[in-house]
Point group: C2
Chain length 410, copies 2
């Protein structure tokens, strides 16, 4: 029998407890050992549950109980999760977490401590909820050199953008609906400002490229600047707007790492990822592009990913999984250099005729654009170009009073 | 150092040899052991390669060399692959294969022999080429009960259908182009008649549901009956035609298993899977739908999946991976019962006016259809209905001289 403690009995934690307790037989059969939830740590009281007797309020009980071999951390946040996890690993207990904030900030350090103590630190549920992504990346793509990872990493923003695109709903109404449906995370700002996607691209890039990427190194832009007009214009170019997180190797050994609203061609399969679904594209030198798709959040999918990690820990008691990456460094992420690409540009002016003639003067007669005389706007998708060159061209346009530029994916 | 033998030096085998030899350093670092290709078995001569000295023609050399711990079988076909693999496992050598025909026919038996001899039998590359699918199903979805597996399992047919849909190319021309581009497998009949997809759904269902499904138990229909007209009609219903392999649990513990051309709504993400790409949807009780997407074939992707399995064997020398399923049974697959669904129906008659009036008599005035007076055809998508009931209705239509019915995915 293997004894397990769960720290945190929120949405995910209660899901983990339910699966481990209700499906104990199925799990025991698969791992060839009984898995027993001995403690659940939470400061709140939970009376009337079939497992109410397991609750404790003192972390020390878990730490000092040598019978506890696996600890599940599903409290969220850095404090006290970081101290608790570190203490558990140092006490030679394996730890499973769904806490993306913790892994994005402290992953390299915690993995090293796990290695030094010959225990496992697993966090499949921290990216993409129930979508298997970290383990396939580490194992099945073992024979690959990964060059690029990108995708739709946040279900809430994808739901909001989808409502804007399909149902013509404006941003605020779509956000309110997402909150009403319970799709928004505890702090909606973390979703709509891109921080959640940022943490996930950190974890994916760290694992995929072997060196820690910290959230503050990722150039992060949320979806609050995306308007219903942008969604409609994009549609006219056979595109949709998605929040894309991306990390890519550069020839000089550094990487770029971004989260930003991106105009995605409908020819690209990511354009078909709707609602609260996530999709992560991994580009390996041998396999080419592989994509992992599913619901990126939610109690049951996330809890089931945590339980799968617990099962893996139980199977590998006294054996290490090869999961690790180096510490990061300040100059490892370099967002100043980026490949040439197409850009979506929306220009507003106080004089539509001037705007048109200026546009033709700078970009030539043959550049296709959508003009809107009523709103005094002009929208176009540039040729493949250098971002700085495009900005110089845009700066030279006279009479511009508003400008939106989005990167694209074609 | 771990010694490896490769049996077969065709497309995949040569790719495996190249990766193992050219990327030896990267691989050694990841598995913490040198992996040495000691023999390559092939009846043909391969002079002038940097590793021409490794070729042998006698299987006995591999079998009797105790230094060989891992054997790669990439010969294809059942004979002699089956005998060779069985002998290797009995000699306590782990085996890695990409041979879907072998695994679909003999998987349960070979897994049992591997277990009895405490070695591994891995075959990630047998489904979806370089797409990680079997291992994520077995491991990450460990906490899930899998209910359904379906998807686009054959890149060649998907390429052909895509050319018909997008480029208006007829079946024969699209097939010729696929062959010219080298997308067709050695035997194109295996692709277009659905046998390749059938073998893959057997492997997926066996692993996902825990009991062997044999190819002859799967109701298999290829794409040779799909016409350019069907592709065009489907488009008018905002659908595309895809070859879908599917396996689903029934409430009575049995399963259904099919491969067939299916009319897929563009609302479904599988409709956006184009070209030679594969996409496999797995429905778990906790995670909901997760999809794995990528190029399903090709030398490099498939070879890299084989190499990843070899690396896993090397890491698990003397340790077993929990991968197994029971023997099948004749009555386990029951294709007589299927859920109600919509159907795509194309009816041809010698008298278009009679066809229309007969259609309205049987299906009512409000059933939408697309009529084609010139070709004397009428196409409609039925309401959600029972297949037998629909067939009775269709049988009662007078004057019908041609009928096409496809299942749908909405």
């Amino acid at each position: 029998m293997v004894n397990v403690a769960i720290m945190g009995h929120g949405v995910v934690g209660s899901g983990v407890a339910e699966i481990l307790i209700n499906h104990a037989d199925r799990i025991a059969e698969k791992v060839k050992a009984a898995v027993n939830v001995k403690y659940i740590l939470d400061l709140r009281d939970f009376d009337g549950l079939s497992y109410s007797d397991k609750f404790i309020k003192d972390f020390g009980i878990i730490l000092n109980d040598d019978e506890i071999k696996v600890v599940v951390e599903v409290m969220g946040g850095i404090n006290p999760a970081y101290d608790f996890v570190k203490s558990c690993l140092l006490a030679k207990k394996s730890v499973v977490t769904s806490n993306k904030e913790l892994v994005a900030a402290k992953g390299a350090e915690l993995l090293r401590i796990a290695e030094e103590n010959n225990v496992n630190f697993l966090f499949e549920a921290s990216v993409g909820g129930g979508i298997p992504i970290l383990r396939p990346m580490a194992q099945c793509l073992a024979a690959n050199e990964i060059n690029e990872i990108y995708g739709i990493l946040n279900g809430t923003t994808n739901y909001i953008l989808n409502k804007m695109i399909v149902d013509n709903m404006d941003f605020d109404a779509a956000l309110a609906l997402a909150q009403e449906k319970g799709f928004a995370e505890r702090d909606p700002a973390a979703d709509i400002e891109g921080h959640d996607a940022c943490r996930k691209i950190c974890i994916l890039a760290s694992l995929g490229f072997g060196k820690h990427v910290y959230p503050e190194q990722v150039k992060t832009e949320g979806i609050t600047g995306v308007t219903l007009d942008d969604a409609e214009y994009a549609d006219k170019f056979n595109c949709v707007i998605k929040l894309i997180g991306s990390a890519k190797k550069l020839p000089n050994g550094k990487i770029t790492a971004f989260v930003r609203p991106t105009v995605v061609s409908r020819e690209c399969i990511l354009a078909s990822v709707n609602g609260v679904f996530n999709a992560i594209m991994v580009n390996g030198d041998e396999t080419g592009e592989v994509m992992f798709y599913g619901k990126g959040a939610g109690k049951r999918p996330t809890a089931s990913a945590v339980v799968a990690d617990v099962m893996d820990c139980v199977k590998h008691i006294n054996a290490r999984k090869y999961l690790s990456w180096e510490d990061g460094s300040p100059d490892y992420v370099d967002n100043s250099v980026e490949e040439k690409q197409k850009f979506y540009v929306r220009i507003k002016s106080q004089n539509y005729q001037l705007l048109k003639s200026e546009f033709i003067r700078v970009f030539g007669e043959n550049t296709f654009f959508i003009g809107n005389e009523f709103s005094k706007e002009l929208v176009f998708i540039s040729d493949v170009t250098d971002e700085n060159e495009l900005k110089m061209q845009l700066d030279s346009l006279k009479g511009v009073c508003g400008l939106t530029v989005f990167h694209t994916l074609f």
